[in-house]
């Protein structure tokens, strides 16, 4: 089943278990962004900026995206759907690497809708999808719905 676009989704007050969260697309994971991230993160690992180092360990001259950038695509999907600051928890596992040049889609599905202290929360499964492979990232998120 394809996910709805933002204009097609029901109002947030009507969300229910099983609803899909509108996709968020990263058309092409760019190596220059990994280099900027490596500098900001003070990350010494050459897999994020040296294609030759990646070739030596079997990644074929493609640098490996930083894990936090994978999480950020989920955050961007959730912000686009429920607004900035909506994410209360994000737990993510990393079955596969995301590589430079990959076309990545962030996806999500609601698993619970609940109320706590007068506020409404949504739990959801979230994942990154890449055509032709298993999901590179999989996890769960908790979202606070706007008042």
């Amino acid at each position: 089943m394809s996910s709805p676009s933002l204009k097609d989704v029901p109002p947030l007050k009507n969300v229910k278990v099983g609803d899909a969260i509108p996709d968020w697309l990263m058309e092409s994971v760019r190596p220059e962004r990994m280099r900027t991230m490596a500098a900001i993160l003070r990350d010494p690992n050459p897999v994020h900026w040296d294609r030759e180092a990646c070739a030596k360990i079997g990644f074929g001259h493609r640098t490996i995206n930083q894990g936090p950038l994978g999480l950020s695509y989920m955050v961007n999907m959730l912000h686009a759907w429920a607004g900035p600051g909506c994410v209360k928890r994000l737990y993510m596992t990393f079955p596969m690497a995301v590589l430079d040049g990959d076309r990545i889609t962030a996806k999500g599905k609601i698993t619970a809708v609940r109320e706590e202290g007068g506020e409404r929360f949504v739990d959801c499964d979230v994942w990154l999808e890449r055509e032709g492979t298993n999901n590179p990232l999989e996890g769960r998120a908790t979202i606070k719905l706007p008042d």
Binding site: T36, M37, I40, R42, D43, P44, L71, S72, N76, T93
Partner: protein, 154 residues
């Protein structure tokens, strides 16, 4: 900085790092830093000086006065390539705002050796960091769980 390859460390040395506390300290996310970080995610800047949550990887690490290289070294990583990510868990209690002097603390909360079959193993090490507002209110908590792969059989 790369970490030089090492032989399989004794399991007791790995367990001994549980409770290791980093010095901790302040960390302020400058506007330029948030701008560049947000651009790397492919999103537009968030409103009202809100910092993109992607900051929750490096802000706790650098604010607690450690580095990724030191974290590799504490677990006696064989090399930069021997680290695998099990999970990142980010709990966000308050939005983070640019130019705010947050207080950061961090420690190692778990470390254990795990067999992965055929006599191979990895050490599973878990780091936890807290980000507090200037008045001490907890704003975020992050948990990093890494696998330190071991090439030598146990």
């Amino acid at each position: 900085m790369s970490v030089a390859p090492r032989p399989l460390p004794p399991e007791a040395e790995i367990k001994a790092i549980i409770g290791h506390q980093f010095p901790g300290g302040p960390y302020t996310v400058a506007h330029w830093e948030n701008f560049l970080l947000t651009e790397c995610t492919g999103a537009d800047l968030l409103p009202d000086g809100m910092v993109h949550p992607v900051v929750l990887f490096h802000m706790p690490i650098l604010g607690s006065r450690t580095t990724i290289g030191e974290m590799f070294g504490l677990g006696q990583a064989e090399s930069d390539f021997s680290i695998g990510i099990e999970s990142y868990d980010w709990e966000m209690f308050k939005p983070l705002i640019e130019e705010t002097p947050y207080k950061i603390s961090g420690k190692i909360v778990d470390a254990e050796r795990r067999l992965t079959g055929h006599g191979r193993s990895h050490d599973r090490i878990q780091f936890q960091f807290e980000v507090a507002e200037p008045d001490g209110t907890l704003a975020a908590r992050t948990t990093i769980t890494w696998h330190y792969g071991r090439s030598q059989s146990v």
